[in-house]
Amino acid sequence: MISTGPFFLDQIFFIVFPYVAVIIFLLVSIRRYRTEAFTFSSLSSQFLENQHHFWGLVPFHFGIITVLAGHLIAFLIPREVLAWNSHPLRLYILEGSAFVAALLTMVGLVSIITRRLTDPKVKKVTSWADWIVFASFVIQILSGLYVAVFHSWGSSWFASLATPYLWSLVTLNPDIKFVTAMPWMVKLHIVSAWLMIAFAPFTRLVHILVVPNPYLWRKPQVVRWYAAWKSLRKV
């Protein structure tokens, strides 16, 4: 199925990567849930520091949930999205809101990273996997913001180009003609998404699978977690 020639790399990035990523995601998630169920969480560090935490946690999660929902909606009901976008004003409102959500994600992420670097207790409980998560989010959100500004209007062309590409993967009949001629920043955004999916089950991102939905509206509460952080007691 994979052929050499001008599309060789595209086939690796847009056919091999997604399938490998999804397989790794499923297998490792299941294995981790069955063998290390207690690590299946966001490993909250709110207990260690909660002032700075708010400005990371809240903008990041509202931003990322909105942005991901946007991608999912364009994937599930592309025709409706295009119909909404058929008036420029409505297109601008949708794109503007999505852009605000992406900026909120970025504000949250910067805040999270600063907190991890500056608070000694929080820094101590930050693992190498966390740093990979943060780095991949930086790449993902910066490339997304760049695409939103310089390769607009993504809400329309995602529905027309990315959606058929993604469905071709779902139906096991991969067709990369929709993405081969994309600008490299768009390609980076897609490839880095596959890498994040592959890496997610090794990280705190697994909490997405066990998220209690009342998070979004319940009152704030303190979360504690226990692990053998002997080194932490010295801080």
């Binding site: 295009l82 605000v100 500004v149 607009s152 180009l161 929709f178």
Partner: protein, 290 residues
């Protein structure tokens, strides 16, 4: 023994079947596939005996270049141009710098089938690929207005294609302008060399992304005309400098973000900062008053 005879006779009949299939059926399938392929991918830029469009007239192309070279070029046009090949670069110059897009799934066999088709069509007095018939009626003001509506999506494309504004901009759209994924189309009419070439191109757009969008949702001839009328109209404008529209978009986004952050602060006004710290503050106040 009988099993061996059975297997031999099976082998014999299978050989015969394969021979018949490969002798009769496969060339037919290939040539029909080549005809379909040519119609979907080539006619936007090439004719056979109808004169040059964006790309050269392909009549007797096999007499102008070696088959081996042609096959290599069809599979990876940009690769051949970038290798410094003289003829390929001459072709690029003649096409005003446009290089033929590559086609995913193109194989030497398919390229050969295409060349066979072109050779066969070249021998005909009147090839079926002499060129798409393009209306020559003069553009009206209504055409331009309808063209703009089709461009922005206010009038949807009949066959379900995506509106131009999703990826393209032109000067003078207003608001945040059109899309930035693909080139600005203000002067596209000039770039593509006029009404006939652009109209033909739009009936079967052949760049990879345009093709993946419009192959199954072609732009109707009655939509091509107003669109081209609109692009002729935009020719008088200067290509848009997109940075102002982009800056406005970013500024609006930043404003919205600040607003949301302020809202979070208000909504979660009673977050944990008000538990312990408030108690401490209260105690201190009490101490002061005592």
């Amino acid at each position: 023994m009988s099993a061996s005879i059975y297997s031999r006779s099976l082998q014999f009949w299978m050989t015969v079947t394969v021979a018949i299939l490969s002798g009769i059926l496969v060339p037919d399938v290939l040539s029909q596939e080549a005809v379909d392929f040519f119609r979907q991918n080539c006619i936007s830029c090439h004719t056979i005996g109808g004169g040059r469009l964006t790309g050269p007239d392909l009549k007797d192309v096999s007499k102008r270049a070696e088959r081996e070279w042609l096959t290599k070029f069809i599979i990876d046009p940009r690769g051949v141009v970038e290798s410094g090949d003289r003829y390929a670069n001459q072709l690029k110059e003649e096409a005003r710098g446009v290089v033929m897009p590559p086609f995913p799934g193109m194989t030497p066999q398919r390229a050969q089938a295409l060349l066979d088709l072109i050779d066969a069509e070249s021998k005909l007095e009147k090839s079926q690929f002499q060129g798409v018939k393009i209306s020559e009626r003069p553009f009206t003001a209504e055409d331009v207005i309808l063209g703009k509506k089709i461009f922005t999506g206010a009038v949807s494309l009949k066959n379900g294609g995506t509106s131009c504004i999703a990826c393209h901009s032109v000067q003078g759209l207003g608001g945040f302008g059109g899309g930035g994924l693909a080139p600005d189309l203000t002067t596209v009419m000039e770039r593509y060399g006029g009404r006939k070439t652009l109209s033909t191109w739009l009936t079967a757009p052949a760049t990879p992304t345009m093709q993946s969008l419009f192959k199954e949702h072609p732009i109707d001839a009655e939509e091509v005309l107003p669109l081209v009328a609109y692009f002729q109209n935009t020719l008088q404008r200067n290509p848009e400098d997109p940075s102002t529209a982009r800056l406005n978009f970013v500024l609006v986004g930043l404003g919205g973000t600040l607003l949301m952050l302020a809202m979070f602060d208000i909504i979660w006004n009673k977050r944990l900062k008000t538990v312990r710290r408030a108690l401490v503050r209260e105690k201190r106040m009490e101490a002061v008053h005592e």
